[in-house]
Symmetry: C3
Subunit: 163 residues, 3 copies
C-alpha cells in the first residue's frame, strides 16, 4: 500500500507535467495557424482563434469580436495584400501557461511582394493573452505594435517575458 502511494504520486506528477507541455504546445500551435489562415483568406477560421468577445488591437484599428476580425480579413486592404502577394510571417512565440490562462509574446513580419522580390512592410511586437475553455485555447486579447521606436512596442515585449 505504501508502495502504491508512491506509484500514484509519480503518476500524478507525470500527468501534471505532461499536461503543462501539451498546453504550451497547443498555445504555440494556435499562434502558428494565424499566418496561414489570414494569408489564405480564411476569414472565419482566423476569427475563430479568438473568443467570441476577444480583442485584436493593432493600434490604428481595435477589433472586438469575431465579426470584426473576420471583416478585417475580408476587407479590400487585406484582400489586396494577399492577392498581390503577402506573408504574415510569425516567429516562434515565448509562451507562459498558468492554469487556464496563457501569455505569449513574439514577433510578426508583414512581407509584401514588391517588384520581383519582397519587402518587409512592418515588423511588429505581439502580446497575446489566451484562455482555455471547453473548446480549447482561444485568444482573449492580442495587442500588436509596430516596432518603429515607440516605447509601447518595447514595453509589450518586456511585459510578455517578465510579467
Amino acid at each position: 500500500m505504501r508502495h502504491m502511494t508512491d506509484v500514484e504520486r509519480r503518476l500524478a506528477a507525470l500527468e501534471e507535467r505532461l499536461a503543462q507541455l501539451e498546453e504550451e504546445k497547443a498555445v504555440a500551435r494556435l499562434i502558428s495557424s494565424y499566418g496561414p489562415l489570414v494569408d489564405s483568406g480564411s476569414a472565419d477560421a482566423a476569427a475563430a482563434l479568438w473568443e467570441p468577445d476577444g480583442v485584436y488591437d493593432v493600434e490604428e484599428l481595435v477589433m472586438t469580436g469575431r465579426d470584426e476580425i473576420a471583416g478585417m480579413v475580408r476587407s479590400d486592404t487585406h484582400q489586396g495584400w494577399i492577392t498581390g502577394g503577402a506573408a504574415h510571417f510569425v516567429g516562434p512565440p515565448h509562451v507562459t501557461v498558468t492554469g487556464d490562462e496563457a501569455v505569449a509574446v513574439g514577433y510578426s513580419l508583414m512581407i509584401l511582394r514588391q517588384g520581383d522580390g519582397f519587402e518587409v512592410r512592418r515588423a511588429t511586437a505581439n502580446h497575446w493573452r489566451l484562455r482555455r475553455g471547453p473548446d480549447g485555447w482561444r485568444v482573449t486579447a492580442r495587442t500588436a505594435r509596430v516596432l518603429d521606436g515607440r516605447p509601447q512596442a518595447r514595453e509589450l515585449l518586456a511585459e510578455g517575458i517578465m510579467p
Copy 2:
C-alpha cells in the same frame, strides 16, 4: 488487481500522449534542420531528410528522389547563393501528426545578401507531408509556392491547417 488496472490505464494514456508530443517535436525538429543544411551546402544530409523516393516540388522544378535534391544543393545557382550570402529562414511550422503520417505547413524566406544589407528574394508557402518509418520521420512530399498572389500558394496554406 482492480487497482493495478487503473495504474496500467494511466500509464498507457501517458505513454500515448507523450509519444504524440515526441513525434510532433521530431517533425518540427526535422523541418528546422532544412535551412542550416542547405545554407551550409550539406547536400547529402539535406537530401536525406526526404524518403528515397520523396518529392520536393517548387513549381519551376520538381525534384524526385534524393539524388535530384542533393543535385539542387550542389547546383551552380544554389552554390552562388550560399557563397554570396544566403539564409533559408524557415518559420515555426504548424504540425499535425496522425499515427505514422504528418502534415506540416509554414513559411520560408529566402534572404540574400545585397549591398551591405540583405533582401527578401522570396516568401514561400510550404506544405510538408512526412512519414515515420524504421529510421524515423522522413519527408514524402514538400510543396513550395511563392506567395506572389497566386491562388495555389494560398490554398496550400489553408489545406495544411484545415485538411
Copy 3:
C-alpha cells in the same frame, strides 16, 4: 512483485522521456526570450540568459561575462537601433540536449526601420552552447556569424546540426 517492477520500469522511462522534452522546451524558450529582451532594452535580463562567465561572440565584438553583454544592450549603437525601430527576429532553433549540456543552431535577422518600411540589415547564423545548473539553463557560448558568404557562418550551421 514481478508486475510492480514492470510498472516502475514504465514510470522511469516516462520520467526520463518527459524530462528530455521539458529540457528541450526550456532551451527553445530561453532562446525565444533573447529578441524581446534586447529589443525592449532589458539589459540585465538579457545578460542573465548567459552564465556569469558566458561568451557572446559576434566576431567584430567578443563579449565575456554579463557586464559586457549588458553593456552592449546599453550602448549608444543598440539604443539607437531600438529607439529608431528594431526587431531581433530569431527563428525556431534546432535543439540537441544531452544531459546537462545543449547545442542549438538557428537564424536571426536584425530588422531595422527604414523610411516607411523595414530593411533586413543582417541575416546571421547562430550556434548556442548551453548548460543546465541549479538555476536552470544558461548560455555558455553563443557564436554568431553574418551569412555574407563567409565559410565560418556555413560551418557554424553544419556543426550545430551534425556535431
